[in-house]
């Protein structure tokens, strides 16, 4: 079947446990719940249980797609999972999810290990696969449990990140004249890798080398097994990169800010988003901020924000959406979508 890749449905799954600003404020001297909200725009974030992984959440999100009746699990041709919190070093988490969802054994399946840029990259990959004869129906999942990488007293990450997963169902639409997804532009600068990283646990620095006892000293928040973020460097990177990326997207698409109905940026934190919005002169009513009750969920922030905006009728069918993902890597991408 020829056609163009089109997003048909987005669903989300968040862990039940909540971490409020007041609870965080108890850990850090000088902080109050109100101050945390003012600086981040986040009221609460969700925490996965010790036994709950990103794949557990992603399976729940995918199941909601099937429960809606829009597609049957037996009809899925492509399954992609974007995560930096895999169940195991190997195999790919997507292979485990294929089995748990009962997808056909003919399914094309793999993982993408990108973070904040992952949703935009994933949509581009799904589009390329679908429009080049590799199937008609794709399930694109995102999911992360960054809170498992936290030191509980690291004030640069605890207030910002939360766990969550999403599922996006994309199928070939037979209207051949409309590009529902794309164009996309991309970028990478690995020199920024050290500014947002979990250093230990893989092959360059196996966990047992970083900590011969096999168990990290819980008092040391700078241990390489934990997630570390240099907030000011990430902020600087974003201020430099996002405007230039959006400019490239406009050049490639021939669009301007006036042509876009809604911008959905990676929901890093409200402060940064507001600085970027002002710098880019994007009107407030065209700039979605939807992260107050979930925080920064890495590759899931864009689909979570979109799903909620669709539920509130802020985003409607036929709207042109500009999406921008940027962060860990450094890796970034931007693209256009028509819902």
């Amino acid at each position: 079947m020829n056609g163009k890749a089109r997003i048909k449905k987005i669903s989300i799954a968040l862990p039940e446990q909540r971490l409020t600003n007041d609870e965080i404020a108890k850990r850090f001297e000088k902080w109050t719940g109100e101050k945390i909200f003012q600086k981040t725009g986040i009221k609460e974030r969700r925490l996965s249980k010790e036994t709950e992984t990103a794949s557990d959440l992603a399976v729940k999100a995918a199941q909601k797609i099937f429960d809606s009746g829009i597609v049957k699990s037996s009809d899925i041709d492509i399954l992609i999972m974007c995560t930096q919190s895999p169940d195991y070093i190997l195999p790919s988490t997507s292979c485990l999810i294929q089995a748990r969802l009962g997808l056909p054994t003919t399914t094309l399946t793999f993982d993408i290990t990108l973070g904040c840029s992952g949703y935009v990259y994933g949509l581009s990959i799904v589009k390329a696969l679908l429009e080049n004869g590799n199937g008609s129906r794709a399930l694109f999942l995102t999911g992360d449990t960054y809170t498992k990488y936290f030191h509980s007293m690291d004030e640069s990450v605890v207030p910002l990140f939360g766990d969550g997963a999403t599922a996006t169902y994309i199928e070939l639409d037979d209207s051949k004249d409309i590009d529902w997804t794309g164009p996309f532009v991309y970028g990478t600068d690995g020199q920024g890798a050290c500014n947002l990283r979990v250093e230990a646990g893989a092959c360059r620095m196996p966990g047992y080398l970083a900590d011969p006892s096999g168990k990290s000293d819980p008092k040391r928040s700078d241990a390489p097994e934990y997630l570390h973020m240099n907030g000011p460097e990430i902020f600087t990177f974003s201020l430099r990169t996002v405007p230039e990326t959006l400019k490239r997207l406009f050049e490639k698409s021939g669009c301007t800010i006036d042509d876009i109905d809604m911008f959905v940026f990676h929901q890093a934190n409200e402060y940064m988003l507001e600085v970027l919005r002002k710098k880019l002169n994007i009107p407030k009513e065209k700039f979605l901020i939807e992260m107050a009750d979930s925080g920064n969920t890495v590759s899931s922030t864009i689909p979570i924000a979109m799903e909620r905006a669709i539920a509130k009728n802020i985003i409607c069918e036929g709207m042109k959406i500009g999406v921008v993902g940027f962060g860990v890597g450094y890796s970034w991408a931007a693209g256009l979508l028509i819902l």
Binding site: K30, K39, E155, S156, N230, G231, P232, E233, F235, T236, L239, R240, Y271, M272, V275, K278, K279
Partner: protein, 76 residues
Amino acid sequence: MKSEEVIIEIEEALNADPNSLTMLSKLNEIETYDSVGQLSVIALFDSLFDIVISAKDLTQCKTVSDLLYLVKDKLS
């Protein structure tokens, strides 16, 4: 823009009391100059002067005067 005017902008960005900062004020003694305060200074210079200073450069600054020299340096 005069130095005095930039200092007023820095006070506002850091939610510091009016006239509380001078060229000689030490950054580590400003209560609100934490990691979020640093973001505010980066954002301020971006909006005032259209320059994005690196966080690394910012960590070299010890006083308000150092911040102003950093801007001057970037603009020259």
